[in-house]
Symmetry: C2
Subunit: 514 residues, 2 copies
């Protein structure tokens, strides 16, 4: 442990009685900061140091809120680790303030645009992909087989199409399809097939005897945005075996490819972006580098008229009172509380609570508990008013900053954000994860320069420069904003896309399997 640089910490809010050490490798006992504070013991990078003597039971304050209570007296200059902190109670939902502190609108930001694919329903794609949807897990291996052949034999003839993606999943049968939780995976599958990057062309593969029949997955009339009904291939209707089944899928796919291939990018205002925010593998720096920079970019996007969605219920639960106050209307605040209450009950029924959220990596990275994680996490959402709340799997229909309720699990969250209509994704990470999605570009932002250097060919933006003073939150925020426009135009490719790192869809199914 040690550093050649001057000992340095980040003090997030004026009232905080802890700060975060930012020196790579941490600092040894005896290290002295420019403020005069001297470490009583070694403190690892991204971990907290006490700025004042804390009495037993006293609140440990970071981001201006109590992130925990001291187990015992903690002397100034000590390492404030998770073992010293008691988890506070979560905010009582019934006493959260409703739209009491609505931020004034920021000045509109004009003149920013990207090159996208206009869809008939008014949405805009940042990629031009043929999606092949499936009603049921039984057809997945067959569709994968067909997609391999389409990519090898057919796609090369349609060079304006970026990719062919099989939307396979373990749902559709062997599940309690009328159970209270079943609505979520069903609408997720429906709305996934409507993602703007699929261009409104739906090709659906069904087995024939499954519970989730095509008309249940995509009911007639449920899709006013579609120009025509989905094309459906039903495997059990094949009279001549596997060869016919595959040929049928390939023939329908080629019809879609022909149409998709005629599309061209045109200039679209930045307002057509639907940006999903997420973090994975966070540490205590997330809330002072990457997430605030993304928050600044989020504000720029909102000012430009775009939709920006944040998610991950267990990572905002402890900030519920702050977010309901920021809601544009009392109804939006109530909608937010409804989602929090649903999740509280979901976890309770499973014998868990929000304290199940932090990972060993989070804790090793200095996050004392889920409260500290949440306060860092919501920095991504910037400073604007909360304009809408959407339940898991719902399609977002609102501009500005919205909350799309999802679990924090990276891949479930990403899948649900795609179902919500996301066409570009920003993902912040501290410990590092090689996250990627096939359907929308994923811009990965590192919260520390060490990770950005080690994973130079996986990380797209280094926000660690904020901690070291090499760049400001504003500067990195603008970089992210401009990179979003570039990536969405098919210009610069993300590292995940360059390597073809595309995680599978993961459905959120709170209902039982049978």
């Amino acid at each position: 442990m040690g550093s050649e640089r001057e000992p340095q910490y980040v003090h997030a809010h004026a009232g905080d009685n802890v700060a975060v050490v930012v020196n790579p490798g941490g600092l040894p006992a005896g290290a002295r900061f420019s403020s005069g504070l001297k470490l009583r013991e070694a403190v690892p990078e991204a971990h907290k140091v006490a700025l004042a003597d804390l009495a037993a039971g006293e609140a440990i304050v970071r981001y201006g809120v109590p992130i925990g209570y001291a187990h015992r007296a903690i002397a100034r200059g000590s390492w404030v680790h998770e073992g010293l902190m008691t988890l506070p109670e979560p905010p009582e939902l019934s006493s959260c303030p409703l739209a009491t502190d609505v931020p004034a609108p920021l000045a509109p930001l004009e003149g920013y645009a990207f090159e996208g694919f206009h869809n008939a329903d008014g949405t805009v794609g940042t990629k031009n992909i043929l999606g092949i949807s499936t009603t049921v897990q039984c057809v997945a291996a067959t569709v994968d087989h067909a997609v391999r052949r389409i990519k090898a034999e057919v796609l090369p003839r349609y060079p304006s199409v970026d990719d062919v993606v099989a939307i396979t999943h373990p749902y559709g049968c062997g599940v309690a399809i009328d159970a209270p939780g079943a609505a979520i995976p069903i609408r997720t599958l429906r709305n996934l097939s409507l993602n703007p990057n699929f261009g409104g062309e739906i090709l659906l593969v069904s087995l024939g005897c499954e519970k989730l029949q095509p008309v249940r997955m995509i009911p007639a009339g449920a899709l006013p945005v579609l120009e025509e009904a989905p094309s459906v291939a039903v495997m059990q209707e094949a009279r001549h075996g596997f060869g016919e089944i595959v040929a049928n899928i390939m023939e329908l796919a080629e019809k879609k490819l022909r149409r998709l291939n005629e599309r061209r990018r045109t200039t679209c205002p930045a307002a057509e972006l639907v940006v999903g925010l997420q973090c994975g593998g966070s540490d205590a720096l997330s809330g002072v580098t990457a997430n605030p920079a993304v928050g600044f970019a989020a504000d720029l996007l909102v000012r430009a008229g775009a939709t920006v969605m944040f998610s991950e219920v267990t990572e905002v639960r402890d900030a519920a009172h702050l977010l309901t106050a920021r809601a544009a209307t009392p109804q939006i605040a109530q909608d937010f509380l409804r989602e929090m209450a649903w999740y509280d009950e979901y976890l309770r029924a499973g014998g868990a609570d929000r304290s199940a959220n932090p990972t060993p990596g989070n804790v090793k990275g200095g996050l004392g508990n889920v409260v500290e994680k949440a306060m860092g996490s919501i920095a991504k959402a910037g400073t604007t008013a909360l304009r809408g709340v959407f339940a898991a799997g719902e399609r977002v229909t609102q501009k500005g900053l919205v909350f799309a309720a999802t679990p924090a699990s990276d891949f479930i969250c990403g899948t649900l954000q795609l179902a919500a209509g996301m066409n570009v994704h920003i993902f912040t990470t501290g410990r590092g994860t090689p996250y990627g999605l096939a359907v929308a570009p994923v811009i990965k932002v590192a919260n520390n320069s060490g990770l950005a250097a080690r994973w130079h060919d996986l990380i797209d933006v280094d926000a660690g420069r904020i901690a070291t003073g090499e760049a400001t939150v504003e500067k990195v925020g603008w970089e992210i904003f401009l990179l979003v426009l570039d990536v969405s135009s098919g210009g610069k490719r993300t590292w995940a896309d360059r390597w073809g790192l595309h995680n599978e869809f993961v459905l959120f199914n709170p209902g039982p399997v049978t």
Copy 2:
């Protein structure tokens, strides 16, 4: 509707008051059977006809048990469809008989063997596969990338290795890892890596910061059967980016491939087989053709000393009293009841019950409800005593007929049976499903000749010949038994393997995600 063949039905048990029409395409009103019975209305193929006048409220008896009660009076010769039947209550668990009707052992069957790969732990593989396990969803896309490269660049140098399989899954983080339900997916992942077809070579890829750390997934000492500790690649330890990460996985993989490549098949008694039984897309013929034939094969396998496991809790729940009576000891019966009670509660907590099981295809195929489905389903288990019961994800350690508790969902069941140690799989189907697994060969048995003809290049055995009188249950049972030996020896390849139809692993996670 109609048929050129003589009208024909199958009457399963002497006391049954319904029988099943077996003519392809069904029969029209007025059709007369050789018994003298005349149809009062058209009856579809595989659907039931009343053999006697039934009063309102009277039991509808098939397989010798009430599968339902008549809503209203039903005249002899009528179509007895699901709309006329009330679902019976499930057997009360507390009053199920314990080991009261234990079948006498059948004569041992000597002299049957196959060519398999002996493992250090005493198990035998039917394939020689390198499995790459993962602790967490975050590494899945990277491992998939590495596996593509290993298959293209490395595997060709090791011709005795059959395949490289990535054991990827959406678990390991973003989940409540201490919730009551979490033990199931964790032990499933552990035991999957121990499947006999992986030859005892474990290569584990970890991210580094996940909740399911390698030592938790595979604790030291948990694997007395392993000669050495698993090889572990931790992505976050890489100092030089994605290239290093992939190179590291490939290097460890090549070490394993070198060892696996030295293995040769040797002659093993049939007793080394661990056979998983499953059905998917059943109809009313399943219980008279494919499942009894598989049941006959199961008895042959048990006589030869093999392990035969059946599963699918919701499809045996209504036969609980029959199976507890067949248990070899009262303790085994109690173990079985414990699994039934767990699942009753799991479904209840999710707002569902066993009636959620049948699919539209089951019903269209003549299965009136889950009771009728269950009675047909347990025919697969043959006639021998129940020798053991294992919870979901546990490794089976008992020869003879055992129950491995799993959901009925085909891919969850298959995954759990692989974790239980299955080295060959028999799958019966009526409506048709293109099911396949990468790790163990899947023999697909059709319960009707129409499906076998239509899907000539997906179905391995046509048990429909039993309904038409072209073959007996015994004859088809022996065919299946001999095919199991042949396929397990690396001789005849199943259709799923010929096409490379390999469904993904699907974990059973009754715990909440966060």
